[in-house]
């Protein structure tokens, strides 16, 4: 028998009649789709802008980076291209240096950029006066950021000592094309003309200078194709250990790296919210169908088949789901704008938020998959509703387990696939999935245990006893609510505790004995004079800049290494040399720092190097020091005894190995805060090439940035709590009749409205308290482990802050629970009894 088509009116009636549940279901879908499209879409938009404006952001078509003058082979190749009229070339040099007023009474660490004519090829350096950049920046002049003038109390026309020369401040830079590419600059910008480069006397072998060569491709047709062709040709001549050739499309700017990592983390939060909201979808749908049980039973009594009923409810789910998906897109779009506002310091100026068709299709597909996965179990259970239940509410046999297992396996496969697809890093994906699964499993176990104990407690207080009984009423979903809230709160509490501990360790209570002034770029012949100037005993650390070229003969693929999210061999390292262990170090492999029975050049490595690649004593590492290879054998592996801000080096050589290598000297001291400025002035006046870093000041700058970032993370973590709250609300709606019956019976038997309110409020209070406490315990353990063993810092539990976090959780759950129940509280017994003659 064919059952007559789709009953449109039935669909509409069911939707109208259960508008509360429908609304909660839609909100869950909005939450899941909104968060994942926000993060995924934002990431795509940022990457699109960075790519689209990459020429302007990098100020060139081809960008060549090096830590020293480029190799002769590459240089020849570039010059040939210039002579052939295929490219135009310009260069700039970037480094940090302390600049000071002509009176030498004030100084500031600055971000110096020495530029040749022609910079920038794309975009412009905008000056406050409105004049053209290269008209103003002539030898003898500087153009500075406003913050430099503010910090030195200087003005245009004043003299500024930069390195070994004095220059005149001619203008203020308002914007430059490659900021925020040059993000995380710890000092204000100074532009210096290339003509003053020699006079500055700061660019020496061993100094930490970034040498940048920019090329502009002069072809007028198929420019991108020609750019790639030229770049590929140059890559063949580059020395990969020292210099890198990128086009504007492939160049990984610092901001892109930072944003990649940050948005990657936000995507993880998005996946977590997607999953939690998925449980919300399942919970609300189960609650919705529970409400409809009587209706379903009646339909079956008059002959409707399971198929007929299931199809209609599937259509309802589809309609609600599509509403949720569409609104989710809209919400995700708004959230992207919110993200752009919160992260404005870090983003390109012309970031435009838009929704692409690919993004929309992906979101729809994702939304339908999530809804289907989480709707499967409740929809499947429709067949368990038998017509007989309208006459008799007997205990039906337990439902089959296989749909639950199948649903679990499919959900796990879906989320795993999603994580791997977005992360593109199998190992990290596995870690993430394992951590989330662990979080939910531990929440489940503890929630089950606590509820088991609670159910068996003998409680004297009547309202409290009734509240506990209410938690175990049929269809109450107390455990899923507690698990969801616990998991969500755990994430937020953990982020908070780790952030507070990092703040306490580095920012607020800067370690007493830690150095707070670092001096870099000290030349070998300046050591004695420097010590005299400081007038104190200091330890000097020689620093030789090098790359790791190969390990045990296996060449390091620099490009591949740089793609990794953790520390890797794609960067430059600071080598040093000495004969002894520091008192802050201990050996974990090898009997001594170096072996007397080995002829090879030896190197002792820090245990952190093992996180990048497994190595052991006896292995060989080849370094490249300004292009010159140096092969060394691992003689020992060190570890730090305790957390310290004292200098530490990944690679330590014997004196004889590196003594004659191009190097600078580094040292650090602990100075009284009031003396820092005068020490800086004294040192730089005598030794203009030495960069002085006030670490506590720098730490404050980073702290401010971290706080801005963590606000974003916390805001989106709160969305996961919203999913838990939605489940709570849907359960209240689902158990509405049972709650009304309870309230009516209490009133009939003589209880007042206050008593009824207290029972409901206590029930929500217990749910909030259990969730909050469980989450806090788990967060404390997790934060402790991460802080102690991950960051190797001492740990503080911040109990007072935790107390307030629990209090806020409790108030939120109670208030929301009571608001959702207020119509039940106001129900008169007689009204109810008239409506429900069956009861």
């Amino acid at each position: 028998m064919k059952q007559g088509g789709v009953h449109i009116l039935f669909l509409i009636r069911q939707l109208m009649r259960s508008s509360n549940q429908a609304l909660v279901f839609i909100l869950c879908v909005i939450l899941s789709i909104g968060s994942i499209t926000a993060f995924s879409g934002f990431s795509q938009n940022v990457n699109r802008v960075l790519l689209k404006d990459a020429r302007k952001i990098h100020a060139a078509d081809i960008i060549i980076r090096s830590a020293s003058e480029i190799s002769s082979g590459l240089s020849r190749a570039i010059n040939r291209l210039v002579l052939d009229g295929r490219v135009e070339k310009t260069r700039y040099y970037r480094f940090y240096s302390v600049v000071r007023t002509s009176e030498e009474d004030k100084s500031v660490l600055s971000d110096v950029k020495i530029v040749e004519k022609g910079y920038p090829f794309y975009g412009e350096v905008v000056l406050k006066s409105g004049r053209l950049f290269h008209d103003v920046l002539i030898p003898g002049s500087v153009v500075v950021a406003q913050s430099l003038l503010d910090r030195l109390d200087a003005k245009i026309g004043d003299s500024l000592k930069v390195g070994f020369t004095t220059l005149t401040i001619q203008d203020v830079v308002v914007s430059e094309p490659d900021r925020p590419v040059e993000l995380f600059s710890i000092g204000p910008r100074i532009f210096v003309a290339d003509g003053d480069r020699e006079a500055l006397g700061l660019i020496k072998k061993g100094s930490r200078i970034r040498y940048m060569t920019l090329l502009k491709v002069l072809h007028t047709e198929k420019v991108e194709e020609k750019t790639n062709e030229i770049a590929d040709g140059l890559i063949k001549t580059q020395d990969p250990g020292i210099e890198s050739v990128d086009t504007f499309q492939t160049a990984r700017s610092r901001i892109k790296r930072f944003l990649d990592n940050f948005l990657f983390f936000l995507k993880l939060v998005g996946f977590f919210i997607l999953m939690i909201a998925g449980f919300g979808i399942q919970g609300t749908l189960t609650a919705f169908l529970n409400e409809k049980k009587n209706t379903i039973a009646i339909f079956k009594t008059v002959g409707a088949t399971n198929r007929y009923i299931t199809i209609h409810f599937m259509l309802i789910v589809f309609i609600l789901g599509m509403i949720g998906i569409i609104l989710g897109f809209f919400t995700g779009f708004l959230m992207q704008h919110g993200l752009a506002m919160m992260l404005d310091t870090f983003l390109p100026e012309n970031l435009a938020i838009s929704l692409s068709w690919a993004g929309i299709l992906e979101g729809v597909f994702l939304g339908l998959c999530v809804i289907s996965l989480f709707a499967f179990i409740p929809m499947y259970r429709i067949k368990d509703t038998k017509p007989i239940m309208i006459l008799r509410k007997e205990k039906t046999k337990p439902p089959q387990k296989w749909p639950l297992y199948l649903s679990g396996v499919l959900s796990l496969a879906f989320f795993s696939g999603l994580v791997f697809w977005h992360m593109k890093d199998f190992r990290l994906g596995i870690y993430f999935i394992a951590e989330i699964s662990g979080l939910i499993l531990v929440s489940f176990l503890f929630a089950t245990l606590l509820l088991f104990i609670l159910k068996r407690l003998h409680i004297r207080s009547l309202p409290l006893r009734l509240a506990v009984k209410s938690m175990f009423r049929p269809n109450s979903a107390t455990r899923p609510i507690i698990i969801t809230l616990t998991a969500s709160l755990c994430v937020i509490f953990t982020i908070f505790l780790i952030e507070e501990n990092l703040d306490a360790a580095f920012i607020e209570s800067y370690p007493e004995d830690a150095p707070n002034m670092f001096f870099v770029n000290i030349q070998k012949n300046q050591v004695e004079g420097f010590s005299k100037t400081l007038d104190r005993k200091v330890s000097f650390y020689p620093v030789v800049r090098a790359r790791v070229a190969s390990i045990n003969g296996k060449i390091i693929d620099v490009q591949k290494e740089r793609k990794q999210k953790r520390d890797n061999f794609g960067r430059m390292f600071n080598l040093t040399y000495r004969e002894d262990l520091l008192e802050t170090e201990k050996l974990i492999e090898g009997k001594s720092l170096f072996r007397s029975d080995w002829e090879d050049i030896q190197v002792s490595i820090l245990d952190m190097v093992l996180d990048m690649r497994k190595m052991s004593v006896g292995d060989y590492i080849e370094f490249k020091i300004q292009g010159v290879p140096l092969k060394a054998r691992i003689s020992s592996i060190r570890a730090q005894k305790r957390e310290t801000l004292s200098p530490f080096f990944y690679f330590v050589f014997q004196n004889k190995a590196l003594k004659e290598a191009p190097q600078t000297i580094f040292t650090a001291i602990k100075a009284e805060p009031g003396q820092i400025a005068s020490i800086q002035n004294q040192v730089v006046a005598k030794f203009p090439n030495i960069s002085v870093i006030d670490v506590s000041q720098t730490a404050k700058v980073f702290s401010k940035m971290m706080k801005q970032l963590s606000k974003v993370v916390r805001f989106f973590s709160i969305l996961s709590i919203a999913a838990g709250i939605l489940i709570l609300v849907s359960t209240i709606f689902a158990t509405r009749v049972e709650r009304i019956i309870e309230a009516v019976y209490y009133k009939i038997l003589g209880a007042g409205k206050k008593f009824v309110f207290m029972v409901f409020a206590l029930e929500n209070l217990l749910i909030g308290l259990l969730s909050g406490l469980l989450a806090l315990i788990m967060a404390q353990v997790t934060s402790y482990l991460i802080t102690r063993f991950g960051f190797e810092l001492s740990y503080q539990p911040f109990l007072l802050s935790c107390f307030f976090m629990i209090l806020i959780t409790l108030m939120t759950v109670v208030i929301i629970g009571v608001i959702a129940s207020r119509s039940i509280l106001n129900k008169k017994p007689i009204t109810f009894l008239k409506e429900q003659p069956d009861v």
């Binding site: 028998m1 064919k2 059952q3 007559g4 088509g5 009953h7 009116l9 039935f10 009636r13 069911q14 109208m16 009649r17 009587n294 209706t295 009646i298 339909f299 079956k300 009594t301 008059v302 002959g303 409707a304 088949t305 399971n306 198929r307 007929y308 067949k383 038998k386 017509p387 007989i388 309208i390 006459l391 008799r392 007997e394 409506e835 003659p837 069956d838």
Partner: protein, 221 residues
């Protein structure tokens, strides 16, 4: 010819550790067009018997044959079309769908059958029970008697061969009860249906073709 047969049916419920035998080896044969009343005291098993005879539940032992079809072990999918086409139910508690109007409640089984004239037939039935002006009211807006008349119409819309009524006047006052019974019998006669009615009301029993009494799960002597 028997339209309904029950052969030695028993029904036992398990409640915790206890087993409760509600019906014990009952047999029954109902003729086509017959009006049968099953009566008995509260808890005697009459409603249970009705649920077994109508296919709402399965007997623990024995067989139920409905219009030559053994429905004893029929699945829900097999029973659904039977309920839709051949059986009508009238319950003590009406069991109307709260979100459907009176007219929609009546139409629903006919729509399931794919009847294009469902609305028209429903209106006719409403008219026959003097409720046409209440067609657009929800169950919550109807009195008990009105709800039961709507339930009656719903049971009759597909012209079922069998009508099962479980205490149809149980929640009504005597005047409404009489009216319902009268309309039930009238509709039954007009459509030539077989009516099996469970009640403990002796007045209703007097109108029946046959009365059977259950006592402790068995036919009373």
């Amino acid at each position: 010819m028997a339209i309904l047969e029950a052969k030695h049916i028993s029904k036992t419920y398990t409640l915790g550790n206890r087993e409760l035998k509600v019906l014990d080896g009952l047999s029954l044969s109902v003729e086509n067009g017959e009006f049968l009343v099953i009566t008995g005291s509260s808890g005697s098993g009459k409603t249970t018997l009705l649920t077994l005879l109508s296919g709402l539940d399965h007997p623990t032992t024995g067989n139920v044959i409905l219009d030559s079809q053994d429905i004893t072990h029929a699945t829900e999918e097999e029973l659904a079309p039977l309920r839709n086409r051949y059986i009508g139910f009238v319950f003590q508690s009406f069991h109307l769908v709260p979100s459907m109007t009176a007219l929609e409640n009546i139409m629903f089984p006919a729509e399931l059958l794919g009847n294009p004239d469902a609305a028209e037939h429903a209106r006719e039935l409403l008219k026959s029970v003097q409720l046409e002006q209440r067609a657009d009211n929800l169950p919550s807006q109807l009195s008990g008697g009105e709800k039961q008349r709507v339930a009656l119409c719903r049971a009759m819309i597909n012209r079922p061969k069998l009508l099962f009524a479980d205490e149809p006047t149980g929640n009504l006052d005597s005047e409404n009860g009489k009216a319902i019974l009268s309309q039930l019998i009238d509709l039954k006669s007009r459509q030539g249906a077989t009516l099996i009615l469970v009640t403990h009301n002796p007045d209703i029993s007097r109108a029946a073709d046959r009365v059977l009494t259950i006592n402790d799960g068995q036919w009373a002597a």
